[in-house]
Symmetry: C2
Amino acid sequence: MADTRWLDEGEQQTWRTFLTAVHLLEGALDRQLRRDSGLPHAYYQVLVALSEAPGRELTMTGLARLLRSSPSRLSHAAARLEEGGLIRRFKRPGDRRTTIAGLTPRGMETLRSAEPGHVHEVRRVLFDALTDDQVGQLRGIAESMLGVLDPGEEESRYAGPTGTGSQD
Amino acid sequence: MADTRWLDEGEQQTWRTFLTAVHLLEGALDRQLRRDSGLPHAYYQVLVALSEAPGRELTMTGLARLLRSSPSRLSHAAARLEEGGLIRRFKRPGDRRTTIAGLTPRGMETLRSAEPGHVHEVRRVLFDALTDDQVGQLRGIAESMLGVLDPGEEESRYAGPTGTGSQD
DNA sequence: AGTAATAATTTGAGCCTTCAACTGTGTTCT
DNA sequence: AGAACACAGTTGAAGGCTCAAATTATTACT
């Protein structure tokens, strides 16, 4: 590898501030969700993804792609969510390889009841803290990052689900 | 709680894109560090904080504050880092409550050898992906977020260490 | 001094994520 | 058909994080 190009003072502070902010942000979101609905943020996102899918069902692989999750992680998560009765899994007829995960009524209820508090928290820690300009900037920044981090997903943009949108 | 103010289309996409980007970013950093130096990102940050402290030593509490870590998390981390010989812990003479963690020579070497790859990765996934304008914007955004997420830390800004700066 | 509050840190259980290995199914190629 | 390959998903072990409880030491009160 070539000579290291160290971060200058400004980059350093940008990086550290950003890292700290993200760390605290994730902590806040996760704590709120766990406290108010018993779900870690990652599991909440699984429910959201399913809730928005046609028939409220998705392939494990499809779900993993949407959530940028490893198959393994998702499989463990699904096992736990199924235990709790929030989703159910079954084989797709006609292809015994693929498993389909579907949101149960109980899962849907849990999600619905968790959403308001979650959105409130997202607003509190992100949108309320930023000006409109900053929100626009953040979007551009995140998109640029995805360009590097999420190669070959250009057409599937409008990334994964997060469960903050209006009810239908 | 009052009526929920849902996220509109644009906010929704901003939020999802941001979440996905951050998720991938952390994955990339953590994988790189684990692969090249055997350290998870969080543990790497402990070494960095110590390396920048006077005498390369800090109180457990001080370290926790700097890293926005719970005492418990830090204690577990320190135990493991000590096992690996990267830090050592000892009681402060004069106050047998407080434990001081210090970077060992071995820890310093490990850090030094990990830094170039880490900086390279930080550049790759963040700075190289952004324009100069965006970098500036990101800093402002992160600072705004900290304003909400990190109350009462106004004077200790220039948040925690991350180990991306130039060697002395 | 003696007792209660506070502070610093550690411990253990439970849970989530990662990684590597494994099972079972479909596909392809000859 | 049969071998090799690729695909979908799961499993188990190891490690890291969170939360609540426990430990030990200092300070504050009376």
